[in-house]
């Protein structure tokens, strides 16, 4: 009989071996020369954590109690591996392309990155797996007790051993499970260690089996005979239980966090699945091969009442084969430890990522962007989570007191984890599955599992007996183990049937009734059509070339300055030399956040995916997202158009109003001017005509003088009316022009003579006749009118002592240019721009007219195809008239 010390020594040595293997594997992986570490064999062996102490010890017990039903536990994974190999490949592809870290992350990611869902899955997993961890601890205790004290099972309660085992496993998981925060979250050390443990437990079980068959029974045929004689050999198949447990095994194999960890997260190469598809069923076949012989022989050789769960240990021990028993013990120990380590790692990832980090981030929203800080916190959160999970398992073990049949806890745990299946499978194959559906299904399934299986199954007063027998509040059809009046079913079958049925129904109904968000649609498409999108398994390793693409895209969306600032600050944060940052996940996340501020989350995600993830998003997906945003965009653009129209209308109205006001002011001013111009001569006429009428005694000289005033003012009125009419006709374009060819000199002759006629002609007009012999095409009378006006103005306003007007003619660019420059003081600069306006007069005292002359002149010149402008900077008043030549210079 082995001593406790020896046992502990063996255990410690074994654990030390595991440490060394794990450490060496990590070192090897770090050097990059670890091809065999990434072999399909290691991957297949790592999958064997499916076989825990429950299967190692429990399968024999199961067979001893229920016959061949234990086969279902192996049947499930085999069916999945062989029959659903392509489904697993999809799961692995999705998991890798989405860089998921756990099953909770996968579900959350699929349904629009909902952390609520992740929390649900995490809580479900922790509640479901903690008893399972306790079960492993219990199995270690039991196996210890078998060895050095053949005491009745359950009486042994040396919890300190379990405590140290749990602590040791926690240290192992922390050391090798949280060494670093790889982007791909792979832990070569741990995987290699559990592969080693897989080999140990297989060899152990095979060794015991060989010993039983050939050592105890005396050969294969003898054993077969014994089996035939035993009740185990009878082919009693309870259809519903078989189907249910096979289904649970299938679900557990796919959904268990630890299975997900080794199968998806730790997967190095998708092609490994191809090997595992035959290798893992083979492993299962080998490990289950001797279960029945051991059970049958155990039942024969062991005394009545022995715990069949421990036959693997007790049968060799009873035959004095301590070394074999020790090997068997190590096999069981391996089964338990590998499961606990991986489960703790997987759960801690979920707990820290979905429970601890969100809370920490929300409380540290400002400092969250500092990368080093976050890494430190994540690692700490994982380590603490591992410790806490391990402690939960330990306390659960202490509180439950052990004793319950191992298999029942395993199945309860499986049934809980199976609640994830609808959301997982639906998420992989049904694009219509939504977050609401997943949430509804998970909640319903979780609640029913708690109510119908976990609480009644745990005992310990968690659910009062009267609830079980009479239902809550005496409602019979709500009895946990006979829901809706369906009685007589096996509790497991009952619970799994109802929970899965209602889970799936709720999942489908809520999915159909709810509308997925754009991100959900996008993620849904990426999950369901993962093979269309990704050419092969690839990491999110970026290159500088991608950074350039990202930069170009960001500039388009954020604007050049903003994008450059963002990229430069990121590059500085990363400590790089260039101005472009490495496309690390952290940077990509920040960029996605920045972009989503501009184009929405789904589009930003898709855009970055396009560049970094290659063609991870199809046109179809983008269209689906675009469809949806297009509706919103259309609506908002309609609004925009409408408000734009309103703004434009308002602006037009405002402008029209201003124009009207201005026109009204101009009109008032114009009417005021005309009124003034008309009333002023009329005032004189009226006043003097009344004077003439009322004063008989006026002398003849005065009478003549007053009559002359009346006459002059009447002429002034007539001139004014003529000018107004002329201007009106010109402005309305109703004027008829008599265009003909003529010599400029003749027009000027006529104008000078006319302007100076009758006046006390003090103005000297200087001309250079030789330059004036150009032929122009014009209305010569209208042209003369303009010249007369200019000469008359010079005569009126030139203030020089000896007024002089110089008229000079040039040919500039095919046009005749006629300048009228006098030697007076000219027109003040501040009014030069207004000389052509109606009623403009430089000096009212001298003005004979109404100030319409230049306005009319300009209208005429514009009609004649020329122009008239004031020439600033000359010695005196200076006007320039341009007009078209008659095609050629006249011969001199």
């Amino acid at each position: 009989m082995a001593t406790l010390n020896l046992m502990v020594l063996v255990c410690l040595a074994y654990v030390a071996l595991l440490f060394i293997v794990a450490f060496a594997a990590d070192r090897l992986a770090a050097t990059g020369r670890s091809t065999w570490l990434r072999s399909p064999l290691v991957y297949t062996l790592s999958l064997s954590i499916y076989c825990t102490a429950w299967t190692f010890y429990g399968a024999v017990g199961y067979a001893a109690r229920s016959g061949l039903e234990y086969v279902t536990i192996y049947l499930g994974p085999t069916l999945v591996m062989v029959g659903w190999w392509w489904g697993l490949r999809k799961l692995v592809r999705v998991g890798r392309s989405q860089r998921v870290t756990s099953i909770a992350d996968l579900i959350s990611s699929r349904y629009g990155k909902s952390n609520l869902l992740a929390i649900c899955v995490t809580v479900l997993a922790v509640v479901g797996i903690t008893p399972y961890i306790a079960l492993q601890l219990q199995s270690i205790t039991l196996s210890f007790s078998i060895f050095f004290e053949e005491a009745p099972v359950g009486a042994y309660s040396d919890a300190s051993v379990v405590f140290w085992v749990a602590a040791g496993l926690a240290v192992f998981a922390i050391l090798f499970g949280t060494r670093n925060l790889d982007a791909n979250e792979r832990h070569h050390g741990v995987v290699t260690a559990i592969a080693l443990e897989a080999v140990v437990k297989l060899i152990a079980l095979l060794a015991v089996g060989i010993f039983v068959v050939w050592g105890l029974s005396g050969g294969v045929s003898e054993t077969m005979a014994r089996i035939d004689a035993s009740p185990i050999g009878e082919w009693k198949v309870n259809g519903s239980r078989w189907a249910t447990i096979t289904f649970l095994a299938v679900a557990a194999f796919v959904c268990l966090p630890r299975m997900f960890q080794v199968m998806v997260v730790e997967n190095d190469d998708e092609r490994h699945l191809r090997t595992a598809a035959w290798a893992f069923p083979t492993y299962l076949l080998l490990i289950s091969l001797f279960v029945v012989p051991i059970a049958v022989v155990g039942l024969e050789v062991m005394p009545e009442g022995s715990n069949p769960d421990m036959f693997v240990l007790t049968v060799p021990l009873s035959q004095g084969r301590e070394t074999l028993a020790m090997l068997s013990f190590l096999g069981g120990f391996s089964s338990a430890t590998s499961m606990v380590i991986v489960a703790a790692m997987a759960l801690s990832t979920m707990v820290s990522n979905h429970l601890v980090m969100p809370i920490w981030l929300s409380s540290q929203s400002d400092r969250a962007s500092v990368s080093g800080d976050v890494r430190h916190v994540i690692l700490l959160a994982r380590r603490v989570s591992i410790a806490v999970i391990m402690a939960l398992g330990y306390f659960y073990f202490r509180l439950s007191g052990g004793g319950a049949a191992l298999a029942s806890i395993g199945l309860i745990s499986f049934a809980g984890i199976a609640q994830i299946l609808p959301a997982l499978v639906g998420g992989l194959f049904w694009r219509g599955a939504t977050r609401s559906g997943a949430l509804a299904g998970l909640t319903v399934g979780f609640a029913l599992w708690l109510y119908t299986l976990l609480l009644p199954g745990l005992g310990g007063g968690l659910m009062p007996d009267w609830v079980l027998s009479d239902g809550p509040f005496g409602i019979g059809w709500l009895r946990p183990q006979a829901l809706f009046g369906i009685q007589g079913l096996d509790p497991i079958v009952h619970a799994v049937m109802w929970s899965m049925l209602l889970n799936t129904a709720a999942f489908c109904a809520a999915s159909l009734l709810s509308f997925p968000s754009p991100l959900e649609r996008l993620q849904g498409a990426q999950f369901v059509n993962v093979f269309d999108h990704s050419a092969g398994p690839r990491g999110w390793t970026g290159s500088v070339a991608q950074s350039e693409d990202l930069m170009i895209m960001s500039q388009r969306i954020l604007g050049a300055r903003e994008a450059q600032d963002l990229f430069q600050s990121e590059a500085a944060l990363q400590g790089g030399r260039g101005h472009l940052p490495e496309p690390t996940p952290l940077f990509l996340e920040r960029l996605e956040r920045e972009l989503s501020g501009s184009v929405g989350a789904a589009a930003a995600h898709a855009m970055i995916g396009q560049i970094v993830g290659g063609s991870s998003v199809s046109v179809e997906d983008l269209l689906a997202v675009a469809d949806e945003s297009a509706q919103l965009m259309e609506y908002s653009s309609q609004l925009e158009v409408k408000s734009g129209e309103l703004a434009r209308t308002a602006k037009q109205l405002r402008e029209a109003n201003e124009k009207l006001t201005q026109i009204s002011l101009q009109k008032d001013a114009f009417l005021g001017q005309i009124s003034h111009e008309l009333r002023t001569p009329m005032t004189s006429i009226r006043a003097f005509s009344e004077i003439l009428r009322d004063n008989d005694g006026l002398n003849t000289q005065d009478k003549v003088r007053y009559a002359t005033i009346i006459h002059d003012e009447a002429l002034r009125l007539t001139r004014l009316l003529d000018d107004l009419l002329d201007l009106s006709v010109l402005e309305n374009g109703q004027v008829s022009l008599n265009m003909r060819d003529g010599i400029l000199a003749e027009v000027l002759d006529r104008a000078v003579a006319s302007a100076l006629a009758g006046a006390e002609a003090s103005l000297a007009v200087r001309r250079r006749r030789i330059s004036e012999t150009v032929q122009v095409r014009s209305d010569l009378d209208r042209l003369a009118q303009v010249f007369i006006n200019l000469i008359a103005n010079a005569q009126k306003y030139c203030d020089a002592p000896n007024p002089e007007l110089t008229i000079s003619v040039h040919d500039v660019g095919g046009q005749a240019v006629v300048d009228f420059i006098d030697n007076g003081s000219g027109i003040p600069a501040e009014v030069q721009s207004t000389v052509f306006e109606k009623f403009f007069r430089v000096n009212a005292e001298k003005a004979g007219g109404a100030g319409l002359g230049l306005a009319i002149s300009r209208e005429i010149m514009l009609r004649l195809g020329g122009d008239i402008v004031y020439l600033p900077g000359q010695s005196g008043g200076a006007f320039r008239v341009t007009l078209p030549l008659a095609g050629q210079m006249a011969a001199q």
Binding site: G672, S675, H676, R679, T683, R686, I691
Partner: protein
């Protein structure tokens, strides 16, 4: 010293007509044709009454009136305003500025004479 009127008007013919009418009534008539220095001319001439045109070169009659009403000694000077711009807005502006009488051109001679007589009588009574 007889009654003294200052006529500020830039139209020579109208000035001559009014001068004729008021001289015959016994008034001493001074005339001025520019708006710019009108205030100084009024201050220097110390007339009993001012006849003021609105549209004057340099400064409008309306501005001159406002300045008169702001000046010590000239505040109560009777002002008869003449305008050729027949707009009601001008009348309102003039009344607001403190005009004593506002007339639109063309006027009848009798109107002007009566208005001047009335304004003088009012000013003498107070």
């Amino acid at each position: 010293m007889g009654r003294h009127v200052l006529l500020i008007e830039d139209e020579a013919n109208i000035t001559e007509a009014i001068r004729f009418l008021l001289t015959r009534e016994g008034w001493t008539v001074d005339t001025h044709a520019d708006g710019r220095d009108a205030i100084e001319v009024i201050r220097a001439a110390k007339p009993d009454l001012v006849i003021l045109d609105v549209m004057l070169p340099g400064k409008s009659g309306m501005d001159i009136l406002r300045e008169l009403r702001d000046s010590d000694g000239l505040r109560d000077l009777p002002v008869l305003m003449l305008t050729a711009r027949g707009q009601s807005r001008d009348r309102e502006m003039a009344e607001k500025a403190g005009v004593n009488r506002f007339m639109t051109k063309p006027f009848s001679n009798a109107e002007v004479v009566t208005a001047v007589r009335d304004l003088y009588a009012q000013a003498s009574r107070t």
